[in-house]
């Protein structure tokens, strides 16, 4: 039990489920098309999305890192544009609540066993 938790905590920050090697695709999949309904920039064919794809491509060519590009965009459009919320004071609860539930449930089950 403890081992599992430790393992989880160790790999937790390093996981990336996406196996897309293409950087543009990876970034645009994490961006919300703000004028569409529930589509990512990658999936959308709207004017806004198409322009944004070009901008992201430019920024990658300017050697900006993924983080810098996100920073550039959130400065203009707010955090709403990112599908993966950043880990900051607004989102501690969001990220940690499920983990708390998991630990709580584990304690409930295994404490009472022994």
């Amino acid at each position: 039990m403890k081992k599992i938790l430790i393992l989880i905590i160790i790999i937790y920050p390093t996981i990336s489920f996406s196996v897309d090697n293409n950087k543009i695709n990876k970034i645009t999949k994490n961006l919300r098309c703000l004028i569409c309904q529930g589509q990512s920039i990658y999936d959308s064919q709207s004017e806004f999305a198409n322009s944004l794809k070009k901008v992201v491509e430019d920024k990658i060519n300017e050697n900006m890192t993924e983080k810098q590009i996100y920073k550039f965009l959130t400065d203009k459009y707010g955090e709403w544009i990112l599908y993966e919320p950043e880990f900051n004071k607004n989102t501690y609860f969001l990220w940690l609540f499920p983990l708390a539930i998991f630990i709580f449930g584990g304690i409930l089950i295994f404490k009472k066993k022994t």
Binding site: I8, F17, Y83, E84, T91
Partner: protein
């Protein structure tokens, strides 16, 4: 005109009968020695009849394009194919609510018929709660969303149905999902009733388990149909987007799955009572909460119905009345504390672990869906919680979950044959580690994490196969469902890891070379269909590894309302799907082509069907 009036007035009568039934329920509860059972059955029968009349009149209004009816006017069109006129009845807010009520009432009647032998108090109480729910939905419909509103002067033509909703899978998806939700309402009412009449026991558990499994089957199929629709209709090639609307249907599914597992414990040992009641309540509360989130327009999503704050407030109040009602009843009648002490360390543990993980997954989906709403109100900050969040939090816990699940099923035999089982598991474990490492050596480095998760799912797969081929027939349905689940996880994994995706622009007559394949944009044709114009591209895909494939994706220009949609063309085989979709690029002759190869795609649907099959089998077993 006449149809709308018939529909409207029968609905008003349904409401009156609902109040009458409530009255008789109270009377029955007060005078337990008297018997009002026949009255209740008759009234319920009459109520069903009237609601069927009401719903049929709406269907006929749609079929005959009676544009005097506002709902028909706003959602239908004369040129629409017959089938979609029919399905258009519930393809909108008003009609779908009427369908909810229809299913609610018919299910109540079914419940009455199938459980006549139960204790009178329990039965009456269940009926009472069920009618409270029905009454709530009736008032909501009549006050805020009357499907029989009339407009003058009568329009000549309707506004049409959104073309992306004109689809066979989506036509049957809502009714099936609603049956699932409504089945949950029976579980809700009956668990509260059982709590109040002190009859939460093994008997009750096996009685309600049937309802739980029926609802679960419908929910699963409903979710699958929605997912299939999203796969070929939305044209993005994915099948699950963690869209809020999908999430709200997943939440009751998770609690329901947990409930079905826990009910087994009560059945055998009369334990976990409080927990089962909580799960029963939350399953339905989550269904209604889902309705609230989708209907109120509070979420930004692909297919939220037109928003109207008044409606939102109404469902919100109704939702919280349900919550408070069940809270009060729970705390008043449930005296014992939640207690896990008496459970034995064998089969029960695997059930507890199942519940533990289900609750974790629920917490991820729930918080991810509603957190943005909370944050916006409290802090005035708008954030998105999308696929990366859910994938991260769920995939990591999938590893221990898969291992536990694979191990858990064999826990039951642990005592009898400890050494043999232990050895078996160790062998399976190593086989799966070796297979997954080999796979990754073979395919190339895609990260430690993915190989771990792959190892876990291969382990579960082998373990469920081992359980499946066991000779004894005990728990066969569970074993089939678990096997289906392991197959599902495995195909999703393969699919997401090994999918190929290419995005490029082509002129008609041009070729595009990929690593192993060549895509030749041969031709384009234009035809007129009944309610849309069709532009069809013809693509030839050549490869050394297999025979030539021709795919014909379309662009459809619908006339009412004018919307352009692109229809993907998909060739499914047992090994993989070839998926192609095209889009016109403005101000140019080029088309944007998205070509995808998705390995084992069809197995995602097949394994879901296997899971459902396992569920249905429980009923055939009972008959014998």
């Amino acid at each position: 005109m006449i149809l709308s009036q018939i529909g409207y007035y029968s609905l008003v009568f349904v409401l009156a009968i609902s109040i009458l039934i409530l009255f008789y329920c109270f009377k029955q509860l007060k005078f337990l020695n008297k018997n009002y059972y026949l009255n209740l059955i008759n009234l319920n029968f009459l109520q069903s009849l009237l609601v069927v009349i009401s719903f049929s009149s709406l269907i006929f209004s749609f079929l005959n394009s009676q544009f005097i009816n506002r709902t028909v006017y706003e959602n239908s069109h004369t040129t629409k194919p017959f089938f979609y006129k029919f399905s258009g009845t519930w393809g909108n807010h008003e009609g779908s609510l009427l369908l909810w009520i229809l299913v609610l009432i018919i299910f109540s009647l079914l419940f009455l018929f199938t459980s006549q032998k139960k204790e009178k108090k329990y039965l009456t109480l269940t009926l009472l709660f069920q009618q409270i729910i029905i009454l709530g939905f009736l008032i909501f419909t009549l006050v805020t969303s009357n499907p029989f509103d009339i407009i003058f002067p009568i329009p000549n033509e309707g506004l049409g149905l959104n073309p992306i909703l004109q689809d066979p899978a989506l036509a049957v998806h809502p009714p099936i999902l609603y049956i699932g939700y409504v089945g949950c309402s029976i579980i809700f009412s009956s668990s509260l009733a059982a709590l109040m009449s002190q009859s939460v026991n093994g008997n009750w558990a096996s009685h309600i388990k049937k309802w739980a499994i029926v609802s679960w089957i419908f929910l699963t199929v409903g979710i699958m149909l929605g997912s299939i629709w999203a796969y070929y209709e939305l044209g993005w090639g994915g099948f699950w987007f963690w869209d809020p609307v999908e999430n709200v249907s997943l939440m009751p599914w998770l609690t329901l799955t947990a409930l079905i597992h826990s009910l087994a414990v009560i059945e055998k040992k009369s334990q976990l009572k409080g927990w089962v009641i909580i799960l029963s309540i939350s399953t339905f509360v989550l269904s209604v909460a889902g309705t609230f989130l989708v209907r109120s327009g509070i979420l930004n999503s692909i297919h939220t119905f037109a928003n109207d704050p008044q409606r939102g407030i109404f469902i919100l109040i109704f939702l919280f009345l349900l919550i408070f009602l069940s809270l009060v009843i729970f705390f008043k009648f449930y005296k014992q504390d939640l207690n896990l002490n008496k459970l034995t360390f064998t089969n029960d543990l695997s059930i507890l672990i199942n519940n533990w993980f289900m609750m974790y997954f629920l917490s991820v989906v729930l918080i991810g869906t509603i957190y943005p709403i909370f944050l916006e109100v409290i802090n005035n900050t708008k954030i998105s919680v999308g696929p990366p969040f859910f994938n991260k939090l769920i995939s990591i816990f999938l590893i221990p979950f898969l291992l536990f699940m694979g191990f858990g099923a064999s826990l039951g035999w642990l005592k009898s044959n400890f050494k043999k089982i232990y050895l078996q598991n160790v062998v399976l474990f190593f086989v799966s580690i070796i297979t997954s490492s080999y796979l990754f050596l073979f395919i190339g480095d895609k990260g430690l994490f993915l190989s771990l998760i792959m190892g876990g799912s291969i382990y579960l797969f082998l373990a469920t196969i081992r359980d499946l081929i066991k000779k004894n027939k005990q728990n066969l349905s569970q074993r089939i469902s678990h096997f289906g689940f392991s197959l599902l996880v495995l195909s999703i994994l393969f699919n997401s890891i090994f999918s190929e995706e290419h995005n490029f622009n082509l002129n008609v007559g041009d070729k595009f070379k990929l690593e192993k394949e060549t895509i030749f944009f041969q031709n384009i044709s234009m035809t007129n269909d009944k309610n849309f114009k069709k532009v069809e591209g013809i693509f030839l895909i050549q490869s050394n590894n297999y025979k030539d494939i021709i795919l014909k994706p379309q662009l459809r220009i619908y006339n009412q309302p004018v919307i352009i949609t692109s229809e993907a063309d998909i060739l499914s085989t047992l090994y993989s799907d070839n998926f192609i979709v095209m889009n016109k690029i403005d101000d140019s002759n080029m088309f944007n082509i998205r070509y995808q190869k998705k390995p084992l795609m069809i197995w995602i649907w097949i394994s879901t069907i296997i899971i459902v099959l396992g569920g249905t089998l429980t009923f055939f077993k009972d008959r014998k």
